[in-house]
Amino acid sequence: MASVFERIRGKSSSSAVQAKERLHLVLVHDRTDLTPDDLKSLKDRLIEVISDYVEINAADTEIQIQVEGREQTLIANIPLRSPRRKRR
């Protein structure tokens, strides 16, 4: 049961909200059969391959699974290095 203290802090600490947040993450990984480690190694290899063709900003590259209903989409956000920086 949520304590009085937790109630004052707001709904975000309720056990139901925690259950929902935890389940959300677990279900994404269950459905794709991708562990966080798999996702990290996918990202590293993606950076490696794309770097063969174009200069990218590896540090700011993001990869995530977007969920909509029961459909999941792999979203990669790969910033290219700006031409100005390239000239320096």
Binding site: M1, A2, S15, A16, H24, V26, L27, D30, G69, R70
Partner: protein, 266 residues
Amino acid sequence: MNAKVLTITSGKGGVGKTTTAANLAIALTSLGQKVVCIDTDIGLRNLDVVLGLENRIVYDLVDVVEGRCRLTQAMIRDRRFENLHLIPAAQTRDKTALAPDDMVRLCNELRPMADWIVIDSPAGIERGFRNALAPSDEVLVVTNPEVSSLRDADRIIGLVEAEEKGPVKLIINRINPAMVKRGDMLSAPDVVELLSIPLIGIVPEDEAVLVSTNHGHPVVLNEKSKAGTAFLNIGRRLMGEEVPWMSLNGNDGLFKRLGQLFNGGS
């Protein structure tokens, strides 16, 4: 008659599959439908005892499949409802005594005799579940608003979709409105959002379920019970009727949100 095969499953054990199967079968019968229930939990049969028919068993599902009796000999008629029959599971065998093809053949033979065939699936994702799913026209996944049964329900939904079975609909069983209200239990809209399949019923936690199971008279026969009413409502929805969501604790905000989820075509 050309029966529709309804499979009740969950992944996790103990969430109320057998209770749901028994109550929906009686709900459909009371709505004038002819129903045959099949318990596919070989070795762990229970639908007989929940329905109060445990003393009437002569032949079982495996006897039919292995040719020791005719199909109609294994169908136990419920004396309270002339349109309700049960084919019990074998108790001294295991799930390998039955194959998915056997279930398809058996249900095809049954279809002309009933309006609904209600299959109670065993827990798990293996042979027993495959047997229960193989002949299915519609799948009802039972879950409790709790992390482990929800996770397993999601796995089951994925497997049903991979087999291109369905439609799959959700029953949230044993919801406790007071706990939801104080933020200690996932609400029905939370569960629907996580699993992303259409909801067909919300059954509140209700002591009357255990009491009526003790007697072998499923709770749907108890008009005063909220769980009983919830099961009857699911039966009516299965028949295509639009039944408003029952208020569990006067929390109209929740039901407004639910209504929106449905109208949104989820």
